[in-house]
């Protein structure tokens, strides 16, 4: 397996008023192609910041971030947006679907950033919704769907443009156990059958069991690795 993501000596601090808070001071991390990594840790440990850096929605102060052999930490905002559209699928805790769009239109959103024809887009949307088992709900608006169904639509949106990398921020944090397990099963399936590399931030040890390995982050340092 080759490395899909590499963080080398990454430093990140935040300003809060006059105070400067160091989140990472020389963080190193390698995530292989096809890996499924759960990141756990207490609040304030840097999980979300790590997710933001991995997803290119935040910038490190120094160090290197490589994706598929390419340094992305020097990209400008436009390049990062393009890279995110091509390479990363995002799954949020609260689904973050557009309420004015139906399920199919929500899934189609990332395809608006491609040059695919309308027909090809429709085909991709259908495939993505079928993968998550919601093709029959394609015309439903988010408010007409349950939490689990909304998260499945969000997963379909994340995979519709076939990115290599999925970033999940507490994907089951708002769901009951059974629904959470269904969602995690779907993520596992995407990892195992479609080769998606997944990084999932979670507080839930049950959820972490679906990953191939778990990294425990504490005060900006990986404290423990569980296989």
């Amino acid at each position: 397996m080759s490395a899909l993501i590499q963080l080398k000596n990454v430093k990140k601090t935040y300003k809060r008023g006059k105070e400067s808070i160091t989140i990472f001071d020389g963080l190193n991390l390698t995530i292989e192609q096809g890996d499924f990594v759960a990141i756990m840790g207490p609040s304030g440990s840097g999980k979300t910041t790590l997710l933001n850096l991995l997803g290119g929605t935040d910038r490190s102060d120094s160090g290197e971030i490589n994706f598929d052999g390419e340094r992305i930490d020097g990209y400008n905002e436009g390049q990062l947006a393009g890279w995110r559209a091509r390479s990363v699928g995002f799954i949020f805790q609260f689904y973050n679907l557009m309420p004015v769009l139906n399920a199919a239109q929500n899934v189609e959103l990332p395809l608006m950033l491609t040059k695919l024809s309308a027909g090809k887009r429709r085909a991709n949307v259908e495939t993505a919704l079928k993968i998550v088992g919601l093709w029959d709900r394609a015309k439903h608006r988010p408010k007409e769907l349950s939490g689990g169904q909304q998260q499945r639509v969000a997963i379909a949106r994340a995979i519709v443009s076939d990115p290599k990398f999925l970033l999940c921020d507490e994907p089951t944090g708002d769901l009951d156990r059974n629904t959470a397990n269904d969602i995690l099963g779907t993520l596992q399936q995407l990892n195992q059958e479609m080769g998606k590399t997944i990084v999932m931030v979670t507080h839930d040890p049950e959820a972490a069991r679906f990953a191939k390995r778990t990294l425990h982050l504490d005060k900006g340092v990986f404290a423990e690795v569980t296989q």
């Binding site: 997803g55 929605t57 890279w83 559209a85 973050n96 769009l101 959103l109 990332p110 608006m112 950033l113």
Partner: protein, 389 residues
């Protein structure tokens, strides 16, 4: 799905809010469409029938005050004057003073027809009839169409100023001809009849004229002739004010006040209010969608693209209101053109210039009202947006 589809769906996210905003914008453009078109029609009306070498002499106090008839010959004798005619405002109406008022002048037929031959086009037979019939009247085509008048018909024309010695306020007049204007859009809603017929029968203000039209040898001499006329009557009981015909027509049509100024003020006030309402509402609407903007940026929508969508939404909203407002005002203007009051302005229909100005205004309004939310969406970082929403 296209960016436009997304903009459209976002615009109607809260239909009631969008409808209320559209209605306020609609009102502003309705006012704009009607007032601006009236102003344009007024300009057109004052230009039609005006010649560059014609001056109008009126009483210096106000053109509603008359001057002695003797002024006509004295004006004609001033160097640089090649022709003169005179007229009296009659305050004309037909049957019902409230609904059937129109422009009516008592004129000297011979000199009037010599000067205004092009502006009041008649056949030779009609012209001859008008000159020879003491009770003859020529009527504009629009007016004739409105009341179904025909040549040869005798009609009672009343005055809200004068009355006859026998107490009657109406004069029987025989239609000698129906005139058309120099251009199809020129207003033809006036009547002209013999000054003598009126002068001999009225109970007061005899041998007085309202205005004197003067033709100069050339437009270059206008200033000089105007000064000479006014100087001639300086320190007399009825001093004069002489201006070019266009200026006089405009002043006459704008007796209600400076319409340009009124239109500008009313339209500006309407748009200032709309600007505030729409801006504030859009800012608050965008604040509700902060998280969605963050999600779009996370998915890879670039900041400039998000800015374009937010601006597009504001422009679409204002354009929607504008198209409805301008369309409705065009409809109202068409109806107004057919009314007795409206037809005196001539062609009231909305000109392409007014329509295009309205649309340009709509785009500007959209850009201005959308600027604050769009810039804030442009600048907002993804983390801030996702955390704030």
């Amino acid at each position: 799905m296209t960016d436009f589809d997304l903009v459209w769906k976002n615009l109607f996210r809260k239909p009631l809010r969008t409808i209320l905003l559209t209605v306020s914008i609609f009102m502003a453009f309705l006012i704009f469409g009607i007032l601006t078109s009236l102003n344009v029609a007024l300009d057109r009306a004052s230009e039609s029938g005006s010649a560059s070498n014609r001056l109008v002499v009126s009483n210096k106090i106000n053109f509603t005050q008359s001057m002695p008839y003797a002024y006509v010959n004295r004006v004609a004798a001033i160097p640089g004057v090649t022709a003169v005619t005179y007229q009296n405002w009659f305050g004309a109406y037909y049957q019902d003073q409230r609904t059937s008022r129109f422009v009516g002048f008592a004129v000297d037929p011979e000199t009037y027809m010599a000067i205004f031959r092009d502006e009041a086009r008649l056949t030779d037979a009609e012209r001859q009839a008008f000159l020879s019939e003491r009770t003859g009247v020529i009527v504009g085509k629009s007016l004739a169409d409105r009341y179904g008048w025909r040549v040869g018909q005798t009609i009672p024309i009343s005055s809200n100023i004068y009355s006859q010695a026998n107490g009657r306020r109406s004069w029987d007049m025989k239609i000698s001809g129906i005139f058309t204007g120099a251009k199809p859009t020129d207003p033809t809603t006036a009547i002209y009849f013999h000054y003598d017929y009126m002068n001999e029968t009225i109970t007061f203000e005899r041998d007085q004229v309202g205005t004197i039209t003067v033709v100069t040898a050339s437009p270059d001499q206008n200033d000089q002739v105007a000064k000479a006329i006014d100087a001639n009557f300086a320190n007399s009981p009825a001093e004069t004010s002489t201006v070019d015909e266009k200026t006089f027509s405009r002043a006459f049509l704008k007796q209600a006040g400076d319409l340009n100024f009124i239109v500008t003020m009313v339209v500006s006030a309407a748009f200032a209010a709309i600007l505030m309402i729409v801006s504030t509402t859009l800012v608050s609407a965008m604040r509700e969608r902060t998280k969605e903007i963050g999600v779009m940026k996370t998915l890879g929508f670039s900041s400039p693209r998000v800015l374009r969508m937010v601006l597009g939404e504001a422009v679409l909203l204002s354009s929607l209101g504008a198209v409805l407002g301008l369309g409705t005002s065009a409809f109202i203007l068409t109806g107004l053109s057919k009314s007795p009051v409206g037809s005196s302005f001539g062609d009231l229909s909305m000109s392409p210039v007014v329509a295009l100005s309205g649309l340009a205004l709509a785009v500007s309004l959209g850009l201005v009202t959308g600027a604050i939310p769009a810039l804030s969406a442009l600048r907002m970082s993804i983390i801030e947006a996702l955390n704030r929403g």
